[in-house]
Amino acid sequence: MVSWFLQLVSRVRGFFGQKVADCEFEDELRTHLQLLWNRFVDQGMPPEDAAVAARRQFGNLTVLRERQRETRTFLSPGVLVQDVRYALRQLRKSPGFTLTAVLTLAFGIGANTAIFTLVHAILLRSLPVADPSRLYRIGDLNDCCYYDGFENDNGDFDLFPYDLYLHLKQSAPEFEQLAAMQAGGSSFSVRSGSSTAKPLRAEYVSGNYFTTLGVGVYAGRPLLDSDDKPGAAPALVLSYQTWKADFVGEPGMVGSTIYVQTHPFTVTGIAPPGFYGDRVVSRPPDFWVPLANEPMIEGAGSSLEIQGEEDTAWLYLLGRVRSETNILSLQTKLSGALRQWMAPRPAFNAHGRAALIPRQHVVLAPGGGGIQKLQQYAGKGLRMLMILSSVVLLIACANIANLLLARSTTRRAEVAVRMALGAARRRIIRQILTESVLLSMIGGIAGLAVAYGLSRMILILAFPDARNMPVQTSPSLAVLGFAFLVSLLTGVTFGTAPAWLSSQAKPAEAMRGANRSTGDSSSLPQRALVVLQVAMSVVLLAGALLMTESLARLEHQKFGVATANRYVVQFDPQGAGYTVDRLPELYHQIEDRLSALPAAANVSLARYTPLDGSIWGTCVIQQGHPAPGPNDKCFSSWVRVSTKFLDSVGVPILLGRNFSAQDTQTSTPVVLVNQSFAQHFFPNQNPIGKHFGIVSPKNSGAFEIAGVFADFTDPRGEVTPLFLRPLAQRYAGYTDPEAISSEKSSMFVGSIIIQFTRPQQDAEAMVRRTLADIDSNLTVFHFVSYDSQVADNFRQDRLIARLTSLFGILALILASVGLYGVMSYFVARRTSEVGIRMALGATRWSVLSLVLRGALGQILAGLCLGVPAALYAGHLMTSFLYGVSGFAPFAFVGSTLILGICATIAGFIPAHRAASIDPMRALRTE
């Protein structure tokens, strides 16, 4: 230990004063040699012989000097600079090689860094809040957005009603603060001053939200508990980004009034720059509103106010625990409090449901990263891309190792000369490694640019509607560090074999026959690398084919709805200040005015449109049946639609009739059901004329089935029972307050579907103008062709499929180039051999087959390794695939064929070159 320390100290000292030490050492050497010489002369040797003998006796001077220098201090900077300069000179001497290598590396390292950028920015980040490690979330799942009753089959609770939030907050003083926030989010129309309303995202949060997170404000004050009391003046906090972008950073914003869904709110503060709320999402909230304001904004649809006997669960809970809290015992305690809260409530104990209470529990999850919604959505895909991109990098490494091997063989003579002149083996290895690492560093720098572009592209493709998305693609310190490490590792990986092989060169042998050789020691590793490349490329190609096929199946499903020439407008009459009794008038106007547009065919209104990702679900009770128990499958989706809805989405009636103008408030309440509804609830019966209801058995005769329409599917090809109710009929028979209010809020539609008879170029402008004419307060949240709305469902699948294909193609190119390089190199080396063979009577054909045989051998070996590996990869990818098995033969046959053809061509070109060698010329070159 002591001596080790002393050595360190003297090395540090040795770092300075190198020149002096060098001179002194030279003196010592000279004295020593002189003394040796004297001795040999005394022994009777002639002076010249004595000098040679002294040198021989003393050993390799250069190596000794270098070793002395190295021992004296750390890796000598002088040597390093020398190595780097030498390496740069070498690289400059062969620009073709350098460019190829740097480009290959840039793609390999760039792809990895791009994926890492996203992993770092999405998966590994903490919320920009004070001490995120003490934040814990009650609940570890991401159910959304409104639930009644039990949540998950295993009893895991993650979505909470307001009343339960208060109960848990009270029973767990271990939380310094426990905040509640809306699980979903809403778009509201917001107006300030005289400007037109804009659609902005809002999130309802408890008054202690900012205190819990430990976040201050940029200006004004944060929301406080006093803002979150019934009767408190409506207040909100704007996000910094929104303040800058939508309110031009107006300094007078704090304290001013803005109108949310026509209700006046005071802006109490502006959140700090960079604060994006409690989760990473593509559209973070533009402002935060206290929970207490929810009933005012949502009106009849409020989730906060308890209506009837069921509490709606709609909140996530995130709290800051006191330091040194035992998380496990807190979790047990909270689970107990949850069950205690449930026990007396009919929603959880009626109809035999009490049996499910004992299994109800909560899980405390670390909350420093916020609500892990996007992480869960994107995590799996990102992890797969990470694996794929590292395979690409491995292939790139193999390619460059191959290039270097080829180079090192041609540089054998040079290395031999250097060794003969006294270069140490270690020095040569270090020098070649320096060159590789330098190369990979240059590649890494170029890769950063590729990474920046690629990660931006991925983000834009994955989240086209992103606004203020808190994911940065500019290289952070972590990303730079990652790129540096990957480059270093890459350089060492591809540099080791060539460095080792060239240091094995035997100077004498190499100098004797510098360019004459048939087989050489480096050919085996080179062949092995090509085999490896082929194998890995097969894996990537097979993966790409599987993903592409899966995407094609997803996109070309028969959803059962027609989308051509149709557009969907999302809007919000409630936000424009409409009340239920004024709605019929508005709906008529919209239908009439839009139908009058040129080439418009059917116009309809609907709460949700098929394939837009939302549903309203309820429990169906057939007439005369008792209330369903906890295990009865009574679930059905339902949508409130206008008369022409089915026509506008091209879904046919199979049985009975469609809605008509005769279905009014005073006529029999009718519904249309889909096939699977009819089969599920009325198996083997004629459903027409049957009655059912929702909410309670009292109402089970509420609706009469008037017709059955064809099933249409959700994006994953699944069909659930569905019924439609006409906008013209509001059911008046409910007595339960919650049922009454939810019936009321179902009258507010969210979408307009417009079908044109032919493609319409300026549909958007026309529709927007018409709506503004009807009421200038009507905000259009979204205008989209129905085709692209459907396509949006597969955005992530498409992105992963594209990237997998990109990586597959990259792998194919790299492997082909690699094989081509190795084969051309062999041909060049064996020119004279081929010349001799031909001079001795070999035909062109036999030369061609000689070379091609070598190439085919490597391809076949690669395929033999690659196909089983690809089968395994396919097995791992199963969860990403839709309608395709991970073992689908086409993928393996296809990838084998593609690779086989490309590789054969890559091998054929040099083989052909060998066959056209002129024997006379070949022999003369020697």
Partner: protein, 92 residues
């Protein structure tokens, strides 16, 4: 494998140098090499420059010290000697 062997050799050389200095008192590199040549023939055969690597390392670890003097042929030479305090501390 080759590193093992060279390390072992180096260890042997270090020890021989220390023994030499202990037996003969201060010596320069040439003198040490001659003594080792007498004691064992194969350690230094044809490569006696390596004693300098050992000397530098021993010096760095504090086992020996050096000072400048004049050699038999009237040249400047560095004389190495055992660092007494350190040798006694480890019980030699």
């Amino acid at each position: 494998m080759s590193t093992d062997k060279s390390e072992e050799l180096q260890g042997t050389l270090d020890l021989m140098i220390l023994k030499t200095l202990h037996a003969l008192g201060p010596q320069h590199g040439f003198g040490i090499a001659r003594r080792i040549e007498q004691v064992s023939e194969d350690v230094l055969s044809l490569n006696e420059g390596t004693v300098y690597t050992s000397l530098l390392r021993l010096q760095q670890r504090g086992w020996i010290r050096s000072s400048w003097g004049v050699s038999e042929n009237n040249r400047r030479a560095r004389f190495y000697s055992i660092h007494q305090a350190r040798a006694e501390a480890t019980g030699r």
